[in-house]
Structure formats: C-alpha cells, structure tokens
C-alpha cells in the first residue's frame, strides 16, 4: 500500500533494478539510435525503447518520493524534474560538441541531469526545509531519467544525438516543448493515477509502461517530419508508430487486467471515522 502522505512505499521490484534498467536501457537505446542497420530504420526504434526504459525508472522514482506527500501534488515534481532533465540533456550534448567528442554526449547529459536534480533537492531540503528523506536522491533520479527519456525520443526523431541534429530537428521545430509535456505526463501520471490505499508497484509500473509507449506512438507521428530514414520503402516513423502502438495496447491491457483483478476483491474496508458534533 502506498498513499500520498503515507510514508515510505513498499516495492516488489527494488529501486536499484529499475535504476539499472533506466540507465543501461536508456543509454544503450540512445547510443544505438544512429547505427546504420537496414538503412537506419531500426535505430530510431531503439532510441525510443531506450526512452521507454528511462520513463519506467522515472515513474518508480516519482512513486518513491511522492508517497511521502509533497504538499504540492504529484505533477509538480514531474514538471520540475523534466525542466532539470532537459537542461541536463542539452548541457550534455552541447559540452560533447565543445569537446569534439559526440560519443560522450548522452552520458554527460545523464550526469548533468543527476547533478542538477541533486542541487535542487539539496536546496529544497536545506533552505526550504522539506522533511522527506529520499527527496535529494529521488529528484536526482527523476531528472536523470528525464534527461535520458528526452534524449532518447529526440535521437529517434533526429536520427542521432549530435548537438547539430538535436538543435535543427528537435529544438528549432519546437518538438522539445512537446517532449517536455509528454514525458512529464508519462513519468508523473502513473503514480498520480494509482496512488491511494491498495496501490501496488507492479500495477503502477504497468501503467508507466503504457504511458511511455503512448509517448513513443506520438514520437512516431512527429518523426514523419524527418523523412530521410527509409529502408525498402518502409519509413522509420511507421516502424516507431507501429511498435509504439503495439506496446501501448499490450501494456494498457495488462494494466486494466491488473486493476480488475485488484478491484474484484475487497480484502479490507475502512470504517468511517465517527465525528463528534
């Protein structure tokens, strides 16, 4: 059980496993987003799948921190961490371009996101005096996940993670603003929707997988604007769209099944407290 304001959350899957999934899956996806197999059609799909891994990690981090009750609602930390993550991701690719080492961009982006998240976490804890033990760690984790997720989807649209590609294909057309809101929703919505008594980590993560794949489906639509990636007449955007949609339907179905299973049995019912008048 994990209600907002209810204290630490119980977990079937340890945070470290999801952290590893997010970091390794996210980085691997981004690094494979410019490989030239089958005319580059597979690469953007791998970039998007990396972002999906990062979103699952971020959604679990939100679950851990928001179960203490932030006082400001679950979405607020999502928006803030996405803002931090986007600045971190841009710092990463920009620094890599300055150093002429494009290959280190995603790692630097992750590190910059983690550092920014930790700084704001420390400010919130030391200056604002928030009393949440996991605040610094979780803000850093969500910001790092946000950096990877935004870079993953951006590299899927741009066909790579170099600064020039990101600036010309993602920032100039304004897709970065869409990713800001979409990825925020994908990361904060699962716990925001599932929180309360009988909240369960596996079910929340099933919803996170479904929101992540829904963003991937939309990324497929956005990738129409970069028609250069085609193999044997099949454009890359179509592959992202179809795989994203399949993932979305499968994960949403599994989430709805899990919700139905949980709802079919009421194992404990609270008494309504008696109020003396």
């Amino acid at each position: 059980m994990s209600a907002a304001g209810g204290g630490p959350s119980e977990a079937d899957i340890s945070p470290e496993v999801l952290l590893a999934l997010g970091v390794i899956g996210g980085l691997l996806g981004i690094y494979l987003s410019d490989i030239n197999v089958l005319g580059g059609v597979i690469a953007p799909v791998l970039g998007s799948l990396g972002a999906v891994c990062a979103i699952i990690w971020g959604a679990d981090a939100i679950r851990r921190v928001a179960s203490y009750g932030l006082g400001t609602g679950v979405p607020s930390i999502g928006y803030m961490s996405l803002a931090l993550g986007i600045i971190g991701a841009l710092v990463g690719v920009a620094l890599a371009a300055t150093l002429n080492l494009t290959i280190i961009g995603p790692v630097l982006g992750l590190v910059a996101g983690l550092i920014l998240g930790a700084v704001v976490g420390i400010v919130a804890k030391v200056i604002v005096k928030m009393k949440i033990a996991v605040l610094i760690r979780c803000t850093a984790e969500i910001s790092g996940a946000a950096a990877l997720a935004v870079l993953g989807f951006s590299s899927a649209i741009a066909g790579g993670y170099g600064l020039d590609l990101i600036l010309a294909k993602v920032i100039a057309p304004g897709f970065i603003a869409l990713f800001f809101i979409f990825v925020t929703m994908a990361i904060q919505h699962p716990f925001n929707a599932c929180l309360g008594p009988n909240e369960n980590q596996v079910r929340t993560i099933k919803l996170a997988v479904s929101t992540a794949f829904s963003v991937m489906t939309i990324t497929g639509i956005l990738a129409i604007f970069n028609p250069s990636l085609v193999y044997a007449g099949v454009p890359a955007w179509l592959v992202i769209l179809v795989i994203g949609a399949i993932g979305w339907v499968v994960s949403l179905k599994s989430f709805i099944c899990a919700s139905n299973e949980a709802a079919a049995e009421v194992s404990w019912n609270a008494e309504i407290p008696k109020v003396e008048e």
Binding site: L82, A94, L116, I127, K129, D164, A168, K169, A172
Partner: protein
C-alpha cells in the same frame, strides 16, 4: 564569450529566477481543497498556474525579441498578468455562478483592499472560497513579477545564444534555433523556480495577506541559489553551441 557576457547571463537568470520564485508567493494557489471550493484560491496546483501564466508571459516576451531588455520584460509582465487575471476571473465565475458561493477569505477578518467583512460569508467548516479582491490583486502582482522574471531569462538566453550561433545549422536559420532554445530554457527555469516556491509555501497560499507570505525571504533565497546553478549550466549550453 567575454567575462561580462557570462556574468550578464548568470546574473540575469538568477534575478529572473528570484522574480519568478517570489512572484509565486503572491498567487492565490488553492490546490485540491479550492477545487472543491472549501479553501480560498484558484483550484489547482502551482505547476498548472505557472504553466498558464508563465508560458503566456514567455510568448508575449518572445514576441518582443530584439527589443531592449525593459520592453521584453514589460511584454512578459503584460502576458503573465493577463493570463493569471483571466484564470482567476474565470475561476470566480465558476465559483460564484456554478457553486453558488461568495468569494471570501478565512485568513483575514476584512479584505485587505475593499475592507469588507469576510467572516459572515464563509461557509462553516471551510477555509474560505473563491478569489476575493485582496487575493485577486495579489495574484496580478504575482503575474507581474513572474512575467518580468520569465522575460528576463528569455532575453538573457536569447542574447547569449545570438552571440554563439551565427550560421545556419543543417539548413535551419540560426534565429529559429536561437528562439527555440531560448524559449525552452526560459520555460525550464520558470517551472523549476515555480515548484521550489511551491514547496516553500507548502502547496497552497492566499497571497500577500496569508501568514505563509512571511516565508518569502526563504523562498527567494532558495530560488536565487538554484537559479545561479541553472545560470552556470545554461552558460555551458551556450558555450557548447559555439
């Protein structure tokens, strides 16, 4: 970049962040209780109000791109104030004609602007409801500060980037890239400071007359420290975009 340009960028981001963080303390954020009309303020969280007011302010500020800094800031302020005023007005219409309540505050005995008695209009068991005049004026002042802050961050980021990016990137005109990058950086700084301020007020406030307003110095300090770090990171982006 010369050292004065770097300092201008970092200081402008810091001042902008402080104005945004400070401005949020003025805005009547009601949160979930206000959504049920059982507390004073607009019935949503800071992040949503910041998204509305802040983004409108950034659009109006960006429409003045290339003008002197004070014009950009005034344009941002007009956008922010208009949007927050409209949000509060529409909220009040819904509260008054939809819920059938009188806008009133439980935190003060008399409204700080009109001087009207508040207590007899408050439904028993609630902490006030709607957006009374004092909260409304306070919210508009918050929109002013937030808009000026957002405009300042946009102006600083745009000018720094305009020095760094001078040639088209992969066939895209440099000014399009600069405007897009400056806008997303402005939005990011806006959200970060709005949420830090929201943490400081514990989610909900009524504005200047709320006892939580005394926490303003702490919120300003927090926004200032965070924004200086953000300014340094934004400089890294600008330096890398050369």
């Amino acid at each position: 970049m010369v050292i004065t340009a770097i300092l201008t960028l970092i200081i402008a981001v810091a001042i902008g962040g402080i104005l945004i963080g400070g401005g949020v303390h003025f805005i009547p954020v009601g949160g979930a209780p206000a959504a049920m009309a059982t507390a004073t303020g607009v019935g949503t969280g800071t992040a949503m109000l910041a998204a509305g007011g802040g983004l409108t302010g950034l659009i109006t500020a960006a429409s003045m791109t290339g003008q002197p800094v004070y014009i950009v800031c005034i344009a941002g302020a007009v956008g922010g104030m208009l949007m927050i005023a409209l949000t509060m007005l529409i909220a009040n219409i819904i509260y008054v004609y939809g819920c059938g309540i009188v806008p009133s505050s439980a935190k003060v005995e008399k409204d700080i602007i009109t001087g009207l008695d508040q207590e007899k209009y408050i439904t028993p068991g609630t902490e006030g409801h709607g957006v009374p005049t004092g909260c409304f004026v306070s919210g508009v002042i918050g929109g002013l500060f937030g808009g000026v802050g957002g405009g300042l961050v946009y102006w600083a980021a745009y000018n720094a980037l305009a020095e760094a990016i001078t040639t088209p990137i992969l066939g895209v005109e440099s000014n399009v890239v600069i405007a897009g990058l400056a806008a997303i950086l402005g939005v990011a700084v806006f959200f970060i400071n709005a949420v830090i301020a929201s943490y400081n007020i514990g989610g909900t406030t009524e504005g200047v007359h709320d006892p939580k307003f005394k926490r303003l110095p702490r919120g300003v300090l927090a926004s200032g420290v965070a924004s200086i770090v953000l300014g340094i990171f934004i400089y890294l982006i600008v330096g890398g975009a050369l």
